[in-house]
């Protein structure tokens, strides 16, 4: 099994993350945050801070660093601090102190006195439901509300009314913070008119463009470097506040500047997954055939309405075969920190609601929940002609049920001593996509190759994938391939997000490799070259022709070329007009709930996935495990709490709980491998995010099986399960 190339560096502390870079004369910045949720900054007294030891500069809305909000086609506008005096949420960056040391900057920041003119703040999603607005169109351009109705059916209400069995319920999911191990941070260095920013990001070329735009510099004069990223999960898609501030301050002060958010600051000065409320109605025939699905969603969004969690579009739009479907997405603007993508945006919280509702329907029909799902298995998304390219969800459930011992489940669960034991399951789906990516392949005269793209490996294993797919495409051992990532000077790799990187970069490698091999062969048979005039071919890292063979390094040597390079690009293409694409999975989980004190403990979990071809079994398994653990976390532990005044009540890792080892049993992951070459030549579909999808519902469904209590919100707490 191939292990991770960057594993040894990471576990021995030798991987250099953004903030690990140090330069002579480097100054340190500390961000000042607001302590009201809505209002205007009337004054900021920075006198004491300015005269504190070591302080070099104190920036504020009254004396700001010059920054402009950059816009990208993928992520829209990115807000930059201090350009006006408005406060729209508690914990908003409103100032920046730069000093000789980190401690001096932090101590001085505590001396900044802010006076506000406070305005009423709206901070509760529940209170804001009444003033919800239509969400903007979804990522794919579809309108916020849409329906697919069978011929002769007037409305979804009619379809539900005509259904013999109907379940209706409202579900809620809490906001979440990405809580990546590496806090958002940056080191910015100007050298001869070129700015280098060392900062963890999901896309070096995008970050370089953002920073150039924010500083009004030429794109060519900004270089972004992030060979390692300490976790991102969507939270490092947009360029972060420390990156803008360090870059601007480094220019203003003519010194390298380092800035890192504290863990507490990460909770408000970055962006979170928004909380949601979702109302679902399912109408079915007595045999379980779905007649109608209605899924109405409300997502919290910050006052700038910059991101909405697309829970209806991410799930009910595509998951089941149904004659009638109506979905809607609304947003509730609140005085809360920014929101953004987080692992399986839409699908993760959406699947909690939809897959809980399906479980409720199974109970209402007295049908096995797997049986119910299989009866409504779709060949294509409702109302669409394009069939799934390769769907083996049935097999996932079949294999999973056998592996997990599902047949021993009873509708009432069972008891084991003082523990109530229940089993739950859920479907997982995540769209298979490709983002535009370009990869450069260089063959060197020492018989090694280099595969480079500016994209990122935030722990996903992309670095290793580059060497594996590179080796395969060049017909050489992967050890001969040096993969390179995380540098905006490499061919534009776009963003590592949307579970697309392996399919996108991998496909681009498969375009670049034949090109560089063609170039090599042309070179080998060119006048004066070893195979001049011969019929040449390539295999096993060697050029063959006229009965002779040479390695590519030997050929390059012979012609006096140290290396040759070719690039290849890939993007979503023609295939999108022929099929629908998704990865699929079946989640299983067993929980134990204490009879007296009602703690929920997950005792077993299994995920079986159909994600096309698996390139690196170890990395794939790790991704899925991580995702499943995220799902347990969302189900039982994690949830941002916003107080009435907009303060995040649990904005640190002491009170924002994530599972510890003791909470996680062995995690069983299994793949049914069916390469999907209709999606891309590699046959691989994304599997970064699907691991978390459905898991929270599987936990909640298992809790219901164990206790008979249906909890329709996550995280599920002890008090939800205490009988009166």
């Amino acid at each position: 099994m191939t292990s991770r190339l960057d594993g040894p560096l990471k576990v021995t502390g030798r991987a250099t993350y953004g903030a690990d870079n140090n330069f002579p004369g480097m100054a340190h910045g500390y961000v000042v945050l607001s302590t009201i949720a809505h209002g205007e900054i009337e004054a900021m007294d920075v006198t004491a801070a300015k005269s504190a030891p070591g302080v070099l500069a104190v920036y504020s809305p009254f004396d700001p660093l010059a920054l402009r909000a950059p816009t990208s086609s993928l992520l829209g506008e990115t807000w930059v601090p201090m350009q006006d005096r408005n406060v729209a949420y508690y914990g908003q960056p409103i100032g920046f102190v730069v000093a000789e040391t980190y401690e001096q900057a932090r101590d001085a920041a505590m001396l900044v006195e802010v006076s506000y003119r406070a305005l009423p703040a709206l901070t509760s999603l529940r209170d804001g439901l009444a003033t919800a607005e239509d969400a903007p169109p979804a990522m794919d351009g579809s309108p916020p509300s849409l329906s697919v109705l069978a011929d002769g059916v007037e409305s979804i209400e009619d379809a539900l009314a005509a259904s013999p069995v109907v379940v209706e319920a409202t579900y809620a999911t809490a906001g979440q913070n990405h809580a990546a191990m590496e806090p958002h941070s940056a080191v910015a260095v100007w050298d001869s008119g070129v700015l280098t920013v060392y900062s963890g990001t999901q896309g070096a070329d995008l970050q370089a463009a953002d920073v150039a735009s924010a500083l009004r510099e030429e794109p060519a004069s900004v270089h972004s470097v992030n060979p390692f990223v300490g976790g991102a999960f969507g939270g490092k898609g947009k360029t972060s506040i420390p990156t803008f501030l360090a870059a601007a301050a480094a220019r203003a002060l003519d010194r390298p500047v380092k800035t890192a958010l504290s863990r507490e600051q990460v909770f408000t000065a970055t962006a979170n997954r928004p909380a949601t409320v979702q109302a679902i109605s399912l109408g079915a025939e007595r045999n379980g055939t779905l007649n109608a699905i209605r899924h109405d969603s409300w997502s919290a969004t910050p006052m700038d309405r910059s991101f909405v969690e697309p829970t209806s579009h991410g799930t009910s739009r595509e998951w089941y075969s149904t004659r009638n479907l109506a979905i809607s997405q609304k947003m509730v603007p609140l005085n809360i920190p920014p929101t953004t993508f987080m692992r399986a945006p839409g699908e993760a919280p959406g699947s909690f609601a939809l897959e809980s509702a399906i479980d409720e329907l199974a109970v209402a029909l007295d049908l096995d929940p797997i049986e119910l799902r299989q009866r409504n298995n779709s060949a294509a998304p409702p109302g669409r002609d394009l069939q799934w390219s390769s769907k083996h969800l049935d097999e996932c459930f079949r294999v999973g049920a056998a592996r997990f011992g599902w047949s021993e489940r009873t509708p009432q669960g069972r008891t084991d001593g003082d523990w109530l034991v229940g089993l739950g399951t859920a479907t997982a789906m995540f769209p298979a996509m490709r983002f535009p990516a370009t990869v450069g392949i260089t063959l060197h005269d020492d018989d090694t190759a280099e595969v480079a793209t500016s994209g990122a490996d935030p722990g996903t294993g992309l670095l290793t994938v580059l060497s594996l797919v590179g080796g395969e495409s060049l017909d050489i051992a992967p050890e001969k391939v040096t993969p390179r990532l995380g540098d905006s000077s490499f061919p534009a790799g776009g963003m590592s997000g949307g579970s697309t990187a392996t399919a996108s970069a991998g496909s681009a490698i498969m375009v670049a490799a034949p090109r560089v091999i063609d170039d090599l062969l042309a070179l080998a048979s060119s006048p004066g070259a070893p195979f001049e005039g011969a019929e040449v071919s390539y295999a096993d890292g060697r050029v063959l022709g006229g009965g002779a063979s040479m390695t590519f390094g030997e050929v390059l040597h012979a012609v006096g070329r140290p290396s040759i390079t070719a690039t290849g690009s890939s993007a979503a293409g023609e295939e999108m007009t022929k099929h629908s694409f998704s990865s699929f999975g079946a989640q299983f989980c067993e929980v134990r709930v204490h009879r007296w004190t009602r703690e929920v403990r997950v005792s077993r979990m299994l995920g079986v996935f159909d994600a096309g071809r698996i390139i690196n079994a170890q990395a794939a398994r790790s991704q899925i495990m991580g995702g499943m653990i995220w799902g347990v976390s969302a189900a039982l532990h994690e949830g941002l709490e916003t107080e009435a005044n907009g303060r995040t009540a649990n904005g640190d890792l002491a009170s924002y709980l994530v599972p510890v080892n003791a909470d996680i049993p062995d995690v069983d992951v299994h793949f049914v491998e069916h390469p999907d070459t209709l999606h891309n030549d590699l046959g691989a579909r994304g599997l970064g995010e699907i691991g978390t999808v459905g898991m929270a519902a599987a936990v909640a469904n298992a809790v219901h099986n164990a206790t008979g209590i249906r909890v329709r919100h996550i995280p599920i707490m002890i008090e939800d399960l205490l009988p009166e």
Binding site: D418, W596, T597, E599, A649, I718
Partner: protein, 320 residues
Amino acid sequence: MRQFELSAPETVDDALASPGAFLAGGTTLVDLMKLDVMTPHRVLDINALPLRGIDTQDGLRIGALERMSDVAAHPGIYPVISRALLQSASQQLRNMASIGGNLLQRTRCSYFRDVAMPCNKREPGSGCSAITGANRMHAVLGTSDACVATHASDLAVALIALDAQVRLVGSDGTRTVALADFYRLPGATPEVENDLRPGELVAEVVVPRLDWAAHSTYVKVRDRQSYEFALCSAAVALDVRDGRVVDARVAVGGVASVPWRLRTVEAALRGSPATQASFEAAAEAAAEGARPLSDNAFKVSLMKRTVVRALLELTEGSRA
């Protein structure tokens, strides 16, 4: 963290002679200094002081500087104590943290820990943010209109159940105080948490001999399985003979302003059969006088259930 001066006295007399904040394991002190909640100008590292030793000859005597992990692992420690310790914090913290420091740890109330928020305990008279704020983790017993924070030590709950005392050393000499009297209810002065005088050291914890405390346990209910403070915990010891409870000790944590002894529950248990029915009946008195807040009413029922669970586990054997 503000600048401070660090010294390391080698004798108790030297430590008592110089004012400053005592540093043992530092897992509370340094944490709160980083948050700007505690801002001592002088810090005295007391780790060289001879406040060590675990003696199990006649009851227990535990030096204030003994580490939580060492005490938990020591043979002859009553189970309720070692279980309380082993369910506290993490192994890394237990290796660092001292027994004296544990008893003096500050509350985990998130408003106490955030200097941007009013808190009567941190800044007397500034107000209590928790009463109207996020108070799920807070206390329902022993609270006042000025403070609803819990005392977060698990060890203290076990010790209170066992009638433990602390030996204190000050410049005026040595005194011994029952732990039950040592902790102060918040009342109107939540900033005063205990009976310790300025400059006084906790030298030793003394637990009177109680042979049937070999039959004791600690149940801790929390939002994850490890590395988290109690929503509710129960320390219980039972003397059961011929199916009847002869004597009982019961205390609860995570629900009260100070480690909370349940003497009425103990009285109800005494003389009753060791059965689930009588445990449930006795536990009814557990939450007497409880004043639930907006987010923590569930602690009233959870407290009774935790007590019942602990009593059952003790009489029926652990049923993991």
